[in-house]
């Protein structure tokens, strides 16, 4: 009797699930929907079953996705701090997918979608070698990214995708030559696992203000880029996704070409590459000087007429210098995370150095540029900062943001001197150690100095040869001084009379001539006061963040506050020189001073240029970076 009742219940359950699935698949007739509606109204049990079924079906749909996507997006979420950026990516990708779906809807439903790589795998799985599988609605990769991102927030979701996918699609034997065979490389490259068989071309996922060279097609996001065709991007950013899962961000100006579904040739410019997942391993960036082969990693490549640099941010790459015309043998070097290699014209040796992550536009930076377009002041400032780093006159640049801070180390993010001029927090620690605090934007960071009298700590940057032949100078920073006083923002000074440069900002508690003024100093002088000049006292109400700049050019010192020229003074001396280290947040204690005159307050975006920026440039920087 019980068994009969169970069977009856089971049959009813099956009928309900069948009806619900039919409805969810958009296959139900009006009558069936009315029937479903009626059942749901009457039965709380079926309502519960309906909700559970919808969630279960949604999970099923998310589960069966290619593993490369899952792994890539799982990687994104290991650091939850990047969560917001991931969502921005999700939204951007979904927007693109929605646009594509809208286009697809316009086409006739009878139009067949191209058979994708899943079909090949499916045939193997089903053992149907000749059966054609034509999906009615093509599963676009962005959806998979989105699914995996969301599932990945509970970290094991990626494992689910992988596990389910692996179960449904057992690995097939390699059907193409390995990358090592393709590239002709030897040594460590030979150990690289085979890449997936390419099916379709590389897709331009997104672009930010792309300016293509004259006469070239204006490629748009969503389009597939053909192989063996040179591309010249004059400006802007491109986000490319290769079939094997590799993602590449190209920063203009750049000239590049897609040599194969797993190889990008970069004639000039800069790319950032992320190759997560086994299928993306073996991705190659080839330049005129070197070939860089990924082994599951994140790396940047920059190349110009002088040579090629490859910077590894995670995982490992193999860099091989290409033989030059003289036939000098090439060199192959594996590079691990945190290191970089450089090959220069006429020298096949690979010189290793420290990787400089902040000088590249990565995925989060790409989103920053996207969001800058929508008018967010913070993202606009960050995007501008990325461009500023490439100014050839920029000698040193300290943003104090998370990507440029490593405990006591403060990274210089200026491109021309990247890897050098990093600072170290020193001085009276821990008593007066500067701390990282929110900057002028909630999301940004600044260094806050809280000296106790003259008991101070500062950031010390070693002397570098780039400071030895300067004829012009700009010192620039965002600062928020304490209400009563400021102090030394940046100083490079050996003694009272030997001053490379110094910029200070004073508050109301200083003697009259210093009160609320900016001070600039440089020169090799006979007396202590001679190297210094001060602005008019215009800083009375500047207890909040303000943008201070001093420039020196041909004996003239200009003082700017918040983008406006406030005072022009004749410099008492030509620019001075000393080989002392730079101090950020304090000056050296000298014979005539009672202490380091430490800065009291916060400093952000400190930059040093070897030319005097024009008033227009300073106004532009202020407008682009102000809160």
């Amino acid at each position: 009797m019980n068994e009969a009742a169970d069977n009856l219940i089971r049959r009813e359950d099956d009928a309900f699930i069948e009806l619900a699935l039919c409805y969810l698949d958009n296959e139900a007739t009006r009558e069936q929907i009315e029937q479903l509606d009626q059942v749901l109204k009457e039965s709380p049990v079926h309502r519960q079953q309906f909700v559970t079924l919808a969630i279960q079906a949604q999970c099923m749909a998310e589960a069966v996705r290619p593993p490369a996507e899952a792994q890539r997006n799982y990687g994104k979420l290991e650091n939850e701090d990047s969560c917001a950026d991931v969502l921005m990516e999700v939204l951007e990708i979904e927007r693109e997918a929605a646009r594509r779906r809208a286009q697809e809807r316009k086409r006739e439903q009878s139009a067949s979608c191209p058979v994708d790589s899943l079909d090949d795998r499916l045939r193997l799985f089903l053992g149907e070698s000749n059966e054609s599988v034509v999906p009615v609605r093509h599963v676009v990769i962005p959806r998979a990214a989105v699914y995996a991102v969301i599932g990945g927030l509970v970290a094991t979701a990626a494992a689910l995708v992988l596990a389910v996918y692996t179960m449904l699609f057992p690995p097939e034997p390699p059907r193409s030559p390995t990358i090592a065979e393709n590239s002709g490389a030897s040594g460590p490259v030979a150990a690289i696992p085979p890449a997936a068989m390419p099916i379709s071309a590389t897709r331009l996922v997104a672009a930010v203000n792309p300016q293509w060279a004259a006469g070239q097609k204006q490629w748009q996001a969503g389009e597939q880029l053909p192989m063996h065709q040179p591309f010249e991007l004059m400006n802007g950013l491109l986000w490319l996704r290769f079939d094997n899962g590799a993602e590449v961000i190209v920063r203009g100006p750049a000239r590049f070409e897609l040599l194969s579904p797993t190889t990008l040739s970069l004639a000039s410019g800069e790319v950032f590459t992320r190759c997560e997942g086994p299928s993306a391993h073996g991705f190659i960036v080839q330049t005129p000087y070197a070939r860089i082969v990924d082994i599951g990693t994140e790396f940047g490549v920059r190349t110009d007429d002088a040579g090629t640099e490859a910077h590894v941010f995670s995982g490992r790459i193999v860099m091989t210098s290409l033989p030059d015309e003289s036939g000098v043998a090439s060199v192959t070097v594996p590079l691990d995370a945190g290191s970089a290699g450089r090959v220069t014209l006429g020298d096949p040796q690979i010189r290793t150095m420290e990787a400089a992550r902040p000088t590249f536009i990565g995925r989060n930076d790409f989103h920053t540029h996207v969001l800058a377009e929508s008018g967010s002041r913070y993202h606009r400032a960050m995007a501008f900062s990325h461009e500023l780093r490439r100014d050839p006159a920029l000698l040193a640049y300290y943003t104090f943001d998370a990507d440029s801070m490593d405990q006591d180390r403060v990274r210089n993010v200026a491109l021309t001197t990247a890897g050098r001029l990093d600072g170290i927090v020193t001085g009276a620690q821990p008593t007066a150690r500067p701390v990282v605090m929110p900057g002028r934007f909630e999301q940004s960071r600044a260094l806050n100095f809280t000296p106790i009298g003259n008991l101070a700590a500062w950031v010390e940057v070693p002397h570098d040869s780039v400071f030895e032949s300067i004829e012009e100078l700009t010192l620039m920073a965002w600062v928020r001084r304490a209400p009563h006083d400021g102090g030394t923002i940046v100083s490079k000074r050996a003694s009272d009379t030997q001053v490379s440069f110094q910029m200070s900002m004073f508050g109301p508690q200083r003697p009259l001539i210093y009160t609320n003024a900016l001070q600039f100093g440089s020169g090799n002088a006979a007396s202590v006061r001679e190297p210094f000049v001060r602005s008019d006292p215009v800083l009375e109400n500047k207890n909040n963040w303000c943008f201070v700049v001093t420039t020196y050019r041909q004996g003239i010192v200009n003082f700017y506050v918040d983008g406006e020229l406030i005072t022009t003074r004749k410099a008492p001396l030509p620019l001075g020189f000393c080989d002392s280290p730079i101090r950020i947040g304090a000056a050296p204690t000298t014979l005539r001073t009672s202490g380091p005159d430490p800065f009291q307050g916060s400093i952000d975006e400190l930059a040093i240029f070897n030319r005097a920026l024009s008033p227009e440039e300073i106004q532009t920087i202020y407008q682009a970076t102000r809160p």
Binding site: R10, D14, A15, I17, E18, Y23, L24, E27, A28, R30, I33, D37, L40, K41, P44, R47, F50, V51, T52, L53, A54, I55, Q56, A57, Q58, C59, M60, E62, A63, V64, C83, A84, V86, L87, V90, L91, E94, R95, A97, A98, R101, L118, L122, F125, P135, V136, H138, V139, V146, V149, I150, L153, V154, T156, A157, L160, A163, V164, M167, L168
Partner: protein, 175 residues
Amino acid sequence: MVMDQYTIVRTLLRDRTRLLAYIWTIVHDEHLAEDIYQELSELVLRKQDHFQDEAHLLRWARRAARFRAIRALRQRHSAPMLLSDETLDLLESHWNDADAQRQQMPIDALCHCLSKLSPYARRIITFRYVHNLTGDSLAQKLRRSRNTVYVAMSRIHRTLAQCIRRYELTQSRSS
């Protein structure tokens, strides 16, 4: 106290599956559901000062999603086929329960239970969820009638649900 942006984003990501499933039950078109979810996420971020906690956000998001879903259906069809307002209202408490339980598919259980399916069932799952075949297309591919395929699908889902419950029970006992 309002939620910070980080928590909002985290909630949107973590609860995406359920939100998508919710929208799907209204529009019964998974691609349209994704479009609406995307609009919804942008809307939530624009209104980020509005939310007091996660439960508030999710309730608000479902109301907004329901409104947008119905509007989208009406834009597409002069006489859209919808569940009644009364039914959607009745379902709301079950969605709230699912929120409270953070109802998700247990990963290991799903893997385990999928592996227990017959080759034919796995074939159906593959066609349905990998290739997005539904209705007649799915029936044609499987060389079965449409009705037979839906009967099979319903059995697969029921079997999976039972298997998952058993698996979880076993796991909880063993731990």
